[in-house]
């Protein structure tokens, strides 16, 4: 019995890692996990509009998850690494599949977003590295570590405002979010096709969902730096 189970699981692992279709499933599922995080992260960050107390309370709640937080982070990192690894691996295989390029090339249907997934993906991955160093590890701005609110909690509210008051930081962030949403405009609908979860009659709706979600995410995320730069969201009166 256990031998049969082992053999079946090794067959599944082989199919997922060694076959073209299995690798597409991995891309789709890992992309979905990353997408769920992107949605959750936006919902969390938008709490800046509810005031200092709300977002600092939210951040403290997350930190208080303790080991569970690291389980979630580990899960997320694993899936994002799978997404990046498979993306690069598939790209290299695809390049090798056409050693001689066309001297004249025209596309009828393939969107620019679909043809640039590897590049938007790699730029987003690099930005995430910077973003983590900026706000999570605070390596680029060690002063962020000392920000504390009136309740003695880490003052995430002020950290976000101080961070985004730098025009270049905000600009870089907006560009990266733009690329992320461009990536998702193809990625979301592509995920359903790769998993075979679409039907011809549902495809137009799925395309609309992908596009709408990308636009909502873009507007939601960029509203934060724009509001800070416009002075709509300000540092707390009477100091941090």
């Amino acid at each position: 019995m256990s031998t049969v189970a082992t053999s079946r699981s090794s067959t599944v692992v082989h199919a997922l890692t060694k076959t073209s279709l299995g690798q597409k499933y991995l891309m789709a599922v890992s992309g979905l996990v990353a997408l769920l995080f992107v949605i959750g992260h936006m919902v969390g960050n938008l709490q800046i509009f509810l005031g200092q107390d709300q977002i600092n309370h939210y951040a403290e709640t997350l930190q208080n998850l303790g080991p569970l937080l690291w389980v979630i982070r580990g899960f997320l990192i694993l899936f994002i690494l799978i997404h990046i690894w498979e993306g690069i691996k598939l790209k290299l295989e695809n390049v090798a599949s056409r050693p001689e390029p066309y001297s004249y090339r025209k596309y009828r249907k393939a969107s620019l977003a679909s043809r640039t997934m590897i590049w938007t993906g790699l730029i987003i991955a690099s930005f995430v590295g910077y973003h983590l160093a900026h706000f999570t590890v605070q390596a680029t701005n060690p002063a962020f570590k000392t920000l504390v609110d009136a309740q003695g909690r880490h003052d995430v509210y002020s950290m976000m405002i101080l961070g985004f008051q730098n025009v270049w930081v905000s600009l870089l962030y907006i560009i990266a979010i733009g690329l992320l949403c461009y990536h998702l405009s193809h990625g979301v609908t592509s995920m359903f096709q790769s998993m075979g979860l679409n039907k011809p009659e549902t495809q137009p709706t799925l395309d609309k969902i992908g596009l709408t979600l990308s636009v909502i995410l873009f507007l939601g995320y960029i509203s934060i730096p724009l509001s800070i730069l416009a002075g709509i969201v300000n540092l707390p009166k009477g100091g941090m």
Partner: protein, 246 residues
């Protein structure tokens, strides 16, 4: 009309190959694209130049032999049309036309515009069939098949195996071709028996041949002369998932 042709010339599989320019003069707009090449070739033969080699057979748009990338699009500018059914009236006097072979590692060039597409044959040999003893002529409707299933199978059965999907795909992926075959047979009761084995074997052979991976550009669907839908790829993705669970 008079045209300037930029044509891929390659002596054999090991030759490096290059684009060469030829003039096509006094071309009749009612000629097919292949007939235009025939005229150019007569001229080349007259001048003692090796004629341009290209694949063709039925010249009726049903055999899947013709295979030219014209101005960057497999089978040229007309939708749902093979090169042999593409007429010169779709071009203008003075046009420059780029003619290249299907380009893919799995479709090596044999000579000029002719590529070796036997990789497709090997994929079919791996599982694109139904292993039943057909016996005598069966009664019509002995096996009830719904109209929608029959229509779906017929839509996918229209694939002529020309390989334009591979040529058009940025990744040189063969998934529209393989998806069409799998979806066709999976739609019918005769094909369902071997569905699991078939999808595994055909996907394994497709990967082995060195075709790229599908990244859902859907360029294949846009150039397919038989308008095979990418829903065949989605169906293949579902069938493969089922085979993994089994």
């Amino acid at each position: 009309m008079n045209l300037t042709l930029h044509v891929w010339r390659q002596k054999n599989a090991t030759d490096k190959g290059r684009m060469e320019t030829y003039q096509a003069t006094d071309i009749n707009e009612h000629m097919s694209f292949l007939e235009m090449l025939d005229v150019v070739n007569e001229d080349l033969i007259g001048k003692g130049i090796d004629p341009i080699h290209f694949d063709h057979d039925c010249r009726e748009g049903i055999c899947g032999m013709c295979s030219l990338v014209i101005n960057g699009i497999p089978h040229g500018p007309e939708r749902a049309t093979t090169v042999c059914q593409l007429h010169m009236r779709h071009f203008k006097d003075g046009d420059e036309i780029y003619i290249e072979p299907w380009r893919a590692k799995a479709f090596p060039v044999i000579k000029d515009l002719i590529v070796d597409r036997s990789a497709f044959d090997r994929i079919i040999q791996a599982g694109g069939f139904v292993s039943v003893n057909t016996g005598g002529t069966p009664d019509a409707n002995a096996i009830p098949i719904s109209k929608s299933d029959a229509d779906e199978a017929m839509d996918f059965a229209q694939c002529i195996g020309c390989g334009a999907c591979v040529a058009a795909c940025k990744n040189a992926s063969a998934m529209l071709f393989v998806g069409a075959k799998i979806a066709q047979l999976a739609a019918l009761p005769q094909g369902k028996v071997e569905a699991e084995r078939r999808v595994k074997a055909m996907v394994a052979q497709m990967d082995k041949e060195g075709f790229g991976n599908c990244t859902n550009y859907y360029e294949c669907e846009a150039v397919c002369p038989k308008e095979i839908s990418v829903k065949g790829i989605a169906k293949m993705n579902r069938e493969f998932f089922k085979s993994m669970k089994g």
